[in-house]
Assembly symmetry: C2
Homo-oligomer: 314 residues x 2
């Protein structure tokens, strides 16, 4: 059976040949306006909604190249029984490495060093200004693929983090987990808080004024989840009033982060432009998910890898 | 038997009491000029040579608070049969964490991010600009306590580094080791080179023009060993001609690094002010070495922890 797949990422010839051998007719995204009979969308882009809603197409499956799928028209997709598989896991290793990098950037006092370097200042910090990862109390929100990868790397530093998830179920690599409702006691004396949750209605502005007021000088707050989970005004307030001492942020309420955002100028904030999952080899695992799903899809109409519960949003 | 110990670090009352209970009379460094009959020196400072050479003293042992001992008057110490024990191992965990931080700073493209942040630039890098530690070919010079700690942390990232040491003997955590004489083939296609060697006559300017010319675009060069091991002029040349693409340096030929050094302004160099081993808990393991050595010294005149071969210099 021949399926027509519209691909937003540019595929190389080896990848196109591989898809063709699986019985797939590959349509580049540049042909979106004239293409018809599209069954599958790979990736997403500006013209995704038009492709999806074109009555000449009959899209039944979207394989994203992202882990989060909150940018898709999920209500429409749900109403039309379109299946979605995501790229969960493809970025986890890179995101976890970036996260360890963020923590060491502040714990090993690189943040002061880069500022002093700009002024040619040899300013030796106090020994007590530096700390090791091994000795931090770390709480990770989200114990899925990303959270688990972060925990695994932390374990290599002799650190066993705590996890927070919906139900509080235990997860390998964590010394303990609690549910979102029961996190107050856990975070009160945390040294490090990491958000790695997906964006869902339940997590929008989870990190708000009420949340930050529970904290007593958390050394580092990291957001590698979704920008919408953090109320940026509340975070800036927490940074000023030292409920939070430093923050590393890769995602924002509005992206690109507007030039006029005050966050840029906070001396104790590290801003990276939603790059934390980037890796020279990113496409390799994602193409693997697509191929594996294509095989089962052709065999029995099932998608076996990374199925999204569209009604839940992840 | 009462020993008189002159201490350069300021000890707290608990530590002084602990030493007193071991039969030690503690003399603070501020009393260096009037003190006599000093047997043991703990740490080192400006007036160390005067204390050592005062004929009213009879120093037989120096317990340093540093891993390297190249700043001591080793010839004089050797000629007078004074024993030296160092703080090897006390800083290794912190140095290893800093080293991982340096690597992630460049691999995860924080170096561009901090510069872009200063200008409020949301500049998304290419996916191919970022890489993961897991996929780097890493060569560590020095396979002692520091090198082994770095290797151990790298193992947690799924990376098994290569080691270079004097004899080429194998070491746990490394996928292979070669001797200093046989490193050319190993470093030719290395992604990362880390210096963690002590300063000895054999390692002075080991990383010189001849060395850097062997490299084909090493992604990151790290120096957490000693400043004298690197010819800084040669390194700057290598950075300009892209034998080395980025460098993280914690130690320098002259410290503090002079304000007029051109190194400060290299956009692909991260400079930290000899802080890589700092930790809020630094004194704890070193005080442990001192106590353990005091016990054996009193029992049978032996020093069991971290004895330095004074003639070799480490």
């Amino acid at each position: 059976m021949t399926e027509r797949l519209l691909t937003f990422p540019t595929l190389n010839q080896t990848q196109i040949t591989a898809l063709t051998s699986l019985g797939v007719d590959v349509v580049p995204a540049s042909d979106w306006e004239t293409a018809t009979d599209i069954d599958i969308i790979f990736g997403w882009g500006q013209h995704g909604p038009a492709v999806l809603q074109n009555p000449q197409n009959h899209v039944r499956w979207i394989q994203t190249v992202s882990a989060g799928v909150d940018y898709l028209p999920l209500d429409w997709i749900n109403a039309h029984n379109i299946q979605v598989t995501n790229a969960s896991g493809a970025y986890s290793a890179a995101i976890a490495e970036s996260t360890i990098g963020y923590l060491l950037y502040f714990l090993r006092d690189f943040n002061d060093a880069v500022k002093n370097q700009a002024g040619h200042f040899w300013q030796v910090p106090a020994r007590s200004d530096l700390a090791t990862l091994a000795n931090q109390k770390i709480v990770i929100y989200g114990t899925g693929s990303i959270g688990q990868h972060i925990a695994e790397l932390l374990n290599g530093f002799g650190n066993y983090p705590f996890g927070v998830n919906r139900s509080g179920h235990g997860v390998t690599g964590f010394q303990g987990t609690v549910s979102l409702e029961d996190d107050a006691a856990l975070v009160k004396d945390a040294d490090v808080i990491i958000n790695a949750m997906p964006a869902t209605p339940a997590t929008v502005h989870y990190f708000n004024t009420d949340y930050f007021e529970k904290l007593n000088g958390v050394r580092i707050f990291v957001n590698v989840g979704r920008g919408k989970s953090v109320d940026e005004q509340a975070l800036m307030h927490a940074l000023l009033y030292q409920n939070v001492l430093n923050a590393a942020l890769d995602v924002f309420e509005t992206e690109p982060l507007p030039r006029e955002s005050k966050l840029w100028d906070y001396p104790n904030v590290l801003i990276t432009p939603h790059q934390t999952g980037f890796d020279v080899d990113n496409i390799r695992p994602i193409f693997g998910y697509l191929s594996d799903n294509l095989k089962s899809w052709d065999a029995d109409g099932q998608l076996t890898v990374n199925r999204v519960d569209v009604s839940r949003g992840y």
